[in-house]
Symmetry: C2
Subunit: 311 residues, 2 copies
């Protein structure tokens, strides 16, 4: 018999990540009991019906009572009021963590709300899909993906080790770094890609000489790959851009500078420059596949025309 | 017994598209015999060994002899010399088509090489994967995808109808439009997305404060989707940008203008603007799935951590 890593885990927010955490914790037997909070009654009902939580509460404060692990899984814009309301109910010795895509602002806004004797260790699993809500979760979401923890210098090493063990048991790899560096890395690996994807979908929708119907029919030429990530939760992403402004603007500046150089190479017909650049991009793709962060199946293993592919 | 649509089809170029055409033609029984030409001896040997062609030739002129359908499947930069060399060997009444991603330049450069009595009808199947070469092909590549034909006003309607029937039998939908409009539509649905994908991979590789290893480890946050299309054949894509310069620069200008507005919204913390834009992007994604041009499976049905997902 394995001892549970935590007695009572409170999931604050029951969308894609919260529901996946429930599936993955139950798969690994990590918690004696899982409880939850969601703002909407519909989500609370769904979470109970799907068996994601043993009990569900309309208030975050009730949900965190007696919990030894509290995980914030709402869009990060909702963190500060939730943290303030749940703070008095937190158990001494509990760990509070989160799954938000920005870490600097979370440390600044949530950190001061957490009472002495409670361990606050921000975290971010680099995993997700374009779907949202309590139905979207699945146990394998974190398998083989990286989770970044950004404890402050003052954090208790034992609590950090315990949270790290939790993520390892969920199937993830774990890396520890400071919040500022996290926000810079994620700006280029996640936030700017999402922004660009949203932007090109927007550009395509507002052309006078190309119809929306044409964009959709002929999207298999590359455009559709961008729309997947542009279908992610709008509130979550609004909050990411509002909370990681500096790093996103810095990386966007680099991106635009490089794009301008590439535009110039096209204008002047510099074939050798383009060719060299395109060859280098392939190497990055190969590294991602070797690192287990993507599949080598053609087209992500999409089935051509809705039927299984022959490869 | 179905009559073959063509007696002898010559595939000029035996990479991803040429090999997929062979698989798809054989699946549908469209040709009595399929022959081919490839510049490299290794590709010719592979094509024979895989059974892609009954005969393979080192010269395009030999390959097209007696063929009633000739399909150019090389990068478009190679078209003009090939067209000039094969022109004297083309059979009267034959159809010459291609699969290139740009159509205006093809009409201008290949058209004049084709002798009177031979039908030249440019084409472009909107289908592909990030893999290249004769091993990469599969019969289902064109299923449910669109193929655009761009015949000139002077084209023989009977020949156009025959080529349309060919693509329908391969599993595609067919649309007919003029070459200039094709190049504009593809600039936004394919060429600019590829350019942006190449560009962000390049930007990420040259950051001082984020390592290549970090970019790769944390790529599951969005970046990896861009690297798939950035792994496509570098010569093919160099030729696309050199041959569709005007439309690409026009669409890139629109993209950059929109990105600058979005950058400004982030700088000034305009949450409502961002939120509205992100909501609209979702609708485009839904339309693409409803149109059968992508899968609704989370994450394109990628298997989390290399294992089958539970959903």
């Amino acid at each position: 018999m394995t001892a549970h890593l935590f007695e009572r885990v409170a999931l604050i927010g029951l969308g894609l990540i919260g529901s996946s955490l429930s599936h993955a914790m139950r798969r690994a037997g990590l918690a004696r009991s899982i409880v939850g909070h969601a703002q909407s009654e519909k989500t609370r009902d769904t979470a109970l019906r799907l068996g994601l939580v043993a009990s569900v509460y309309a208030s975050a404060a009730e949900a965190v009572e007696q919990a030894d692990l509290v995980i914030l899984c709402t869009p990060i814009g909702a963190y500060a009021p939730i943290a303030r309301s749940m703070a008095p109910a937190l158990k001494t010795g509990a760990i509070v963590t989160d799954v938000g895509s920005v870490k600097g602002s979370v440390a600044r806004e949530v950190g001061p709300c957490i009472p002495a004797g409670v361990h606050f260790i921000p975290g971010h699993p680099i995993a997700g899909t374009e779907h949202s809500g309590p139905h979207a979760g699945f146990a394998e979401l974190f398998d083989g993906r990286w989770c970044i923890l950004t404890p402050s210098n003052a954090a208790d090493p034992v609590a950090v080790a315990r949270l790290k063990a939790f993520w390892l048991a969920l199937g993830s790899h774990v890396e520890i770094m400071d919040a500022e560096h996290h926000d810079l890395v994620l700006a280029i690996t996640s936030h700017v890609p999402h922004l660009i994807a949203y932007n090109i979908v927007n550009t395509a929708r507002h052309l006078e000489r190309v119809t929306d119907s044409e964009v959709i029919k002929f999207s298999a030429g590359g455009f559709r790959d961008f729309t997947r990530i542009a279908a992610s939760d709008p509130i979550m992403w609004r909050d990411v851009f509002l909370n990681n402004k500096e790093a996103v603007l810095e990386m966007l500046g680099r991106f635009t500078e490089d794009l301008t150089a590439l535009q110039r190479a096209i204008r002047f017909g510099e074939g050798a420059t383009l060719h060299q650049l395109f060859i280098e991009a392939r190497a990055t793709r190969r590294s991602i596949i070797e690192a287990g962060q993507d599949t080598a199946a053609p087209d992500f293993g999409r089935h051509a025309g809705g039927k299984p592919s022959g490869t």
